[in-house]
């Protein structure tokens, strides 16, 4: 608990979150990403987006469960890293798979539901990332800011759907199931907590 409040805690987390990217860049530079480095990069960045999303959504349940309020200081950074890795995932796809041909990318998004869903999830993260600084919270007001940031509850299922559809043709769902279970649990926990809240149970006054 004390360690969470240590001045070095946040910078340490920041460096840890950058580590996957550093390893991928080093792998690409030293040509150790296997025979198809483009595919390896695109897929790893997608994997890390989902992992960061799981971590971000785990902060609140974990805080309640452990009582470590200081965990809240990590949520914004984890959320921004989710967006960061998803943006890099899109960039890698657009660059290595599509050669930055905008026409081809647009056609691909329109034609293929799994690309469209992934793209939508990223678009939904944009307003979240854009309003992640303190002044934005003040400008919006805490209630509106929070309502906006509930978009993440849409982002999570869309991200899983994107991964599911990508794997669907090969009936290879083992990894998809892991993310679905983790994110399902984290969202399910929120739903349960909401249903159990006393103010929800009281009859509405006419």
């Amino acid at each position: 608990m004390k360690a969470l409040l240590h001045p070095a805690a946040k910078p340490t987390l920041f460096v840890l979150c950058l580590l996957p990217l550093a390893l991928l860049v080093a792998g690409a530079a030293s040509n150790t990403l296997g025979a198809n480095p483009a595919e390896a990069l695109i897929r790893s960045l997608g994997d890390w987006t989902l992992r960061m999303l799981c971590l971000t959504l785990a902060v609140t349940p974990l805080r309640q469960w452990t009582g470590w309020q200081a965990l809240a200081r990590w949520r914004r950074m984890l959320g921004l890293f989710t967006f960061f890795y998803s943006a890099l995932h899109l960039l890698a796809y657009a660059w290595f798979d599509m050669g930055f041909y905008v026409d081809d990318i647009a056609r691909d998004i329109a034609k293929r539901p799994f690309i469209l869903v992934g793209f939508l999830a990223l678009l939904l993260m944009l307003p979240l990332a854009a309003t992640s600084f303190n002044r934005a919270i003040k400008a919006l007001g805490a209630a509106r800011w929070q309502a906006l940031h509930r978009l993440v509850y849409l982002v999570a299922p869309l991200g899983v759907l994107h991964f599911f559809w990508m794997r669907a043709g090969k009936n290879n769902f083992a990894e998809v199931a892991v993310y679905a279970a983790v994110l399902g649990t984290l969202l399910g926990w929120r739903l349960l907590r909401r249903l159990k809240r006393p103010d929800r149970l009281q009859p509405q006054r006419a």
Partner: protein, 333 residues
């Protein structure tokens, strides 16, 4: 008087080197001519042109040697640069050993390739079970350098050792009811950790129409790069059908069955809307989840290079287009 100082090899000026896209267009033109009405004479000429500058494929010295003669079959030796041995043997789809590309190289060591038999049966007058050593000697080993295009959008160029599957089928004397050929891969849980996963039905079954199976380019392969097949590439014997997506070329064959009806093939059963029975390489028919118009050549197309266009029938149009005359290749994809 001008005296040439260097009587040896002169480095040509950059302006004298034919640009890659021009010499490649020339080969496309040759193929097109051979495919068209120009007939056999031009096809033979195109073939000689293809032989003029054979790419070298050095033996890596990792497995037992499997000597071979260069094939004379039309289209059997592409001039494309062969993919590095380590990429050919390190990046594989062989779901019997797991779904990851690195799984087969890591896990296929458990495959026992001796003793090994291949049964040829079904609608034939002379069914037989061959020991692998008999098959190795059944016909002269040929080297064929084929392009391989995976349905996932990547490609390789692989120097194979083997002989035309037709050699084996003819010896079995097919009956008039033999319309298709079914290929069964080994499915032994004890040796293959991926068997038992529910990704596909086991054993892996693939199939060809009889005329496709009898086409001289359809290869029964026993080796690559001048050596016996590594386990991850389908040891000890596999099929190679170069104008179709890679999954049509079943690995580690134990049974070849001639049948009357179109076989229920593994990928077609698993996802019929995504993997057709024919699965000819066709840049105009997209996979439902990605375009087939282009491909990445493993080891050659770098990270920042745009993918190269995919050729109809993987570039074997001159040799195989006639097999599909009059067929709607969108319907029979």
């Amino acid at each position: 008087m001008y005296v040439k100082k260097n009587p040896g090899f002169d480095t040509p000026a950059a302006s004298e080197i034919t640009p890659r896209d021009i010499y490649e267009t020339r080969r496309d033109w040759l193929r097109l001519m051979a495919a068209g009405g120009a007939g056999a004479a031009l096809a033979a000429w195109a073939q000689r042109a293809a032989h003029a500058q054979p790419p070298a494929a050095a033996r890596p010295g990792k497995l037992a040697a499997l000597p071979s003669q260069r094939s004379n079959v039309a289209g059997a030796t592409t001039m494309d640069k062969p993919t590095a041995y380590d990429d050919v043997t390190g990046y594989n789809n062989f779901y019997e050993f797991g779904t990851g590309k690195e799984d087969p190289a890591r896990l296929a060591g458990s495959l026992k390739t001796r003793p090994w038999t291949v049964a040829v049966e079904g609608e034939v007058d002379k069914p037989r079970v061959y020991a692998i050593d008999e098959l190795l000697k059944l016909a002269p080993m040929e080297e064929r350098i084929y392009r391989l295009r995976c349905v996932e959008g990547w490609s390789m160029v692989i120097p194979w050792q083997g002989w035309s599957l037709a050699e084996l089928i003819k010896r079995a004397e097919p009956t008039s009811r033999a319309k298709f050929v079914e290929f069964h891969s080994l499915a032994d849980k004890a040796q293959m950790p991926g068997v038992g996963s529910r990704v596909l039905q086991w054993p892996y079954v693939e199939g060809l129409r009889i005329d496709e199976a009898l086409h001289p380019l359809t290869l029964l392969a026993f080796g690559l790069y001048g050596e016996v097949l590594p386990a991850q590439n389908g040891a000890p014997v596999r099929l190679v059908v170069p104008w179709k997506y890679g999954f049509k070329s079943a690995k580690s064959l134990v049974r070849i069955r001639l049948v009357e009806k179109q076989p229920a093939t593994a990928w077609n059963v698993a996802a019929p809307q995504e993997y057709g029975f024919y699965s000819n390489v066709n840049p105009k028919v997209d996979h439902p989840r990605w375009s087939q118009a282009s491909e990445r050549r493993i080891g050659e197309d770098g990270l920042f290079q745009r993918k190269r266009p995919t050729a109809m029938f993987n570039g074997y149009e001159a040799q195989v287009a006639s097999l599909y005359a009059g067929m709607d290749l969108r319907k029979f994809f």
